[in-house]
Amino acid sequence: MPSTLPLGDPSPADGVLSPAAAAGSPDRDFGLYVHIPFCAVRCGYCDFNTYTAAELGGGASQASYAHTVQRELEFAGGALAKSGVAHRPLNTVFFGGGTPTLLPSQDLARVLQTAKNVWGLEPGAEVTTEANPDSVSPESLEELARAGFTRVSFGMQSAVPHVLAVLDRTHSPERVPLAVEWARAAGLKVSLDLIYGTPGEQLSDWQASLEAALSLTPDHLSAYALIIEDGTALARRIRRGEVPMVDDDDHADKYELAEDMLRSAGMSWYEVSNWARTGEDRCRHNLAYWKGHDWWGAGPGAHSHVGGTRWWNVKHPAAYAQRLGAGTSPAAGRETLDESARYVEDVLLRTRLAEGFPTAGLQPGGRRAVAGLIADGLIDPAEAFKGVVRLSGRGRLLADAVVRRLLPD
């Protein structure tokens, strides 16, 4: 998550949501996100809410972190119940960061156990953790699988040393195949995260990374264009001219290469930046974000969404621990979406998915824009005739422009 939080309305200390949030909740999927705000090293491109120190003051430390999150999950169960939101077993759980595997596996297992105690897991639920190839071992992965994890997502980023160096990634490329092998042996599904468009990365470098990733036959692959965020070390290095700025055309070339290679390898896109081997391999937790499902986000700076109310926790782990220590909600602010904002988000998020957005759900202005989008080659004509706005290859690269044209001015 980004380093700055949005501006919103105040959130009550008891975490109780507005009545609107509860409406229809029995029919919606429910997920859990757990943020682990620790990393061994801060990467130069990263503006996520993460810390490298073991002690953060105010009673917050890596050692006590799992305990604090467990308290939030218990608090969450109470707040949702008081809000009249239906009690539902979890459909997906996702541990992200930071580097979740920097915590001992037992800590992650304890947190997952608390989630099970509070809500329970649906049969076949998807339980993922992100992992750094450096911070896993055959034992730790086995332990996670035993605790109920079903999936691991490795931050591979690149297979090319000079690219990893610009990203400040500490793992060596040879470490990735090992980690994948151990995960497989433990019975976990494997996803790989790649980053393209790093300053200095050649098209051939990117091709090498894709080849390396595909040689490991991952079940799932995410490929994100590197965004140079303000305030990061990388942004400063670019400003000082130490590394070159990357342009959008380079991103476009690399995206197209990824799509070609991944498709040839039998993977298909289901979201602009995500590909899966089969329908079952799609990341259901990721899809929940785009489809507007309910989820509780635990941990400092984590974002949540339940029935049109979005909220976000205080950012610093110490402030977060203090709130929960006092038995109050860790939320920093929230917003309740009105009908027009919900419509905007619905179009904005679902248009990015391969399943597309139904034309019948568009407002009249949006429906009128469809023909122009076909004419400009931005959406799939055959799908449009069937009543679905589905991005073409070119349209995926221009998804934000497509969304702007579908939405009212």
């Binding site: 974000y289 986000g297 974002h303 934000d400 422009a401 969304v403």
Partner: protein, 614 residues
């Protein structure tokens, strides 16, 4: 300081001295005037606001005087109390006509020159006007307190220009006050008193006319013959319109009503009219009951030389702009405008100005005083186009340029005088030559300073000529120009097209030899300024149907944010809202979205931005 100041309306012309100060911008005229106000006691020390006479903020910021005023100063010499009328003149070349009227109200002029910089072309031009009006000149070097001052050198230069000895040049410092008393004494001693017929019908020349929100138009006059009295009816001789004199008086420096104004006196009139056009600079005021038979000579209607389209950035501001122009017009007899529509810019006005500075000041006042954001199109001159069917069209906007068969095009010309150190002669000649100038002559003002005269098309100097001159002469070059007829020229209209759609705002009328350069420059500029679209956008420059330059903006290939930031959908939605806001500030040219900033940047030269900062 005078013990008993002479009373207005009953002052013997023999003790009146009317003078103005001729000076270049920054040479310290306002500071010197301030010092005179203090020394003569008309402004108390504690009321002193630096540059008292320059009222408008813009004037004070730019250090220039746009509107002149007159102040009556008492001064005593050899036990006689005199009344000195200091008439403040505009210093800029755009306002030559106003200067000439101010000069006509005086018997003498202080030629004020910065002792560190020497005389500038505009000062020289105004000095020339003063000498033509037979004014007595008092040469003065100012800022002698500056370490860089070279009084001997510039005294010699002044002496050689106007005749006389370098020792006769007064040395003063407006800042410290040194030499200012001596200057006041010299004004009394050297300037002739005004002469007129006290018994003749009144003839008073209007040398300035200012609109005041509370009082209506305040008209500044110099009485030549006869007498004007409160409550009498007066007549404007050019229009024959008559008005009642509601108030008459002198500025000292606040308006002070008097029992009238007699021969040689300078003061103000208030008649209740609301528009400066009813009280025109240069016109003659007379008594309605006993009108003069002949008006004073020299009256001319102001003639706009430079035209530009002014458009509100936000189309909804059009009525605000219209009202603002109406109000500005009350105070600016030289401003003319008419509504105009541009396909690209929407509704606006084509406005005529005396020159580029007048344009800039007007635009700045509109933006500042009326809180408007404006686009001004590239300045244009007025062309006279004769068609083959002998019809004649006057074109002030490229979009009005006729499409039919053209027999001849005439363009306005100016004669320009440039002063600079002699080491820059080559650079100046090169510049003027490239602007289709024809050299008229060259003279040495002093050992190392030259005056170069050129006849140039006005169109070639309205845009960036002065800025380039300044940079090529390291700031030392100065320019003065005046209208000088017209000439037939081989001119063409260059159109700019985006994706085949002509964008009227970017069209230009240029000499055929320069059409290509303009086309390349403008298409190149637009390629940088217009963001990439979802399709390729060709940018073409054409004369008629012939394409002379072409650029293209490649289609954008990526416009998508890769990730969802750990579920921070709020951020993503806000980003989208921001993008949509940005889109609203775009003007659509066909299907091409052109940001307002692109219009502004394409239509302004970088140098004109620099000038605005001065």
């Amino acid at each position: 300081m005078a013990r008993t100041a002479p009373v207005p309306a009953a002052t013997d012309p023999a003790i009146i001295r009317n003078f103005c100060i001729i000076a270049h911008i920054d040479h310290g005229k306002s500071t010197l005037a301030d010092r005179m106000l203090q020394l003569t006691g008309v402004v108390e020390q504690r009321d002193m606001k630096a540059q008292y006479l320059d009222r408008m903020d813009i004037e004070r910021e730019r250090g220039i005087t746009i509107k002149s005023q007159a102040v009556r100063l008492p001064w005593e010499l050899d036990d006689v109390s005199y009344a000195l009328n200091m008439i403040d003149t505009p210093g800029h070349v755009d306002f030559t006509y106003e200067v000439s009227r101010s000069l006509a109200a005086c018997e003498g002029a202080i030629l004020l020159v910065d002792a560190a910089q020497g005389i500038e072309a505009q000062t020289l031009a105004n000095l020339y006007l003063a000498m033509e009006n037979d004014l007595t000149i008092i040469p003065v070097l100012n800022k002698i307190d500056l370490p860089a001052a070279q009084p001997e050198k510039y005294a010699a230069e002044l002496a050689s220009l106007i005749g006389g000895n370098p020792e006769d040049v007064l040395l003063v410092s407006g800042k410290t006050g040194v030499g200012v008393e001596a200057l006041l004494d010299k004004i009394v001693r050297d300037l002739p008193p005004p002469v007129g017929d006290a018994n003749a019908p009144a003839r008073a020349m209007i040398f300035d006319s200012v609109y005041d929100t509370y009082r209506g138009v305040v008209t500044y006059v110099r009485v030549v013959d006869g007498h004007l009295s409160p409550r009498e009816r007066i007549q404007m001789m050019s229009t024959r319109a008559s008005h009642e004199l509601l108030e008459i008086g002198v500025s000292s420096p606040e308006p002070t009503p008097s029992k009238g104004l007699g021969v040689g006196e300078v003061g103000y009139l208030i008649t209740g009219v609301k528009d400066v056009r009813q009280s025109k600079v240069g016109d003659t005021v007379t008594n309605l009951a006993k009108p003069a038979s002949a008006s004073l000579s020299g009256y001319a209607d102001p003639k706009p030389m430079v035209f530009s389209g002014l458009y509100p950035l936000d189309g909804a501001d059009y009525p605000v702009l219209r009202d603002a122009l109406e109000k500005l017009m009350l105070n600016d007899a030289a401003l003319v405008y008419e509504p105009e529509t541009s396909a690209a810019l929407g509704f606006g006005f084509r406005v005529g100005f005396l020159g580029l500075l007048h344009l800039e000041i007007t635009r700045e006042r509109l933006e500042r005083e009326y809180n408007l954001s404006l686009i001004s199109t590239a300045p244009n001159v007025e062309y006279e186009v004769t068609l083959e069917d002998k019809n004649v069209v006057h074109v002030t906007n490229p979009s009005e340029y006729p499409v039919g068969k053209i027999a001849a095009v005439r363009e306005p010309m100016v004669s320009a005088t440039i002063l600079a150190p002699n080491e820059f002669v080559g650079a100046i000649m090169e510049l003027c030559q490239s602007r289709r100038g024809v050299m008229g002559g060259m003279d040495y003002l002093s050992e190392d300073r030259v005056e170069i005269r050129y006849r140039l098309p006005l169109a070639e100097i309205v845009f960036d000529f002065f800025d380039i001159l300044k940079s090529r002469t390291r700031g030392y070059g100065s320019l003065d120009w005046k209208a000088d007829g017209d000439q037939v020229a081989d001119l063409v209209k260059v159109d700019i097209m985006l994706q085949g759609e002509q964008v009227d705002a970017f069209s230009a009328i240029t000499h055929r030899d320069k059409a290509y350069a303009y086309g390349v420059m403008m298409t190149g500029k637009l390629r940088e300024l217009i963001p990439r679209q979802q399709f390729e956008v060709p940018i073409q420059a054409a004369i008629g149907s012939r394409i002379i330059a072409r650029e293209s903006i490649r289609a954008i290939r990526k416009d998508v944010l890769a990730k969802c930031y750990g579920g921070d959908i709020t951020r993503k939605r806000k980003l989208l809202e921001k993008q949509k806001e940005g889109k609203k500030r775009m003007k659509m040219v066909g299907r091409v979205e052109v940001p307002q900033e692109a219009f502004i940047a394409a239509l302004s030269s970088d140098s004109s931005k620099d000038k605005a900062k001065k």
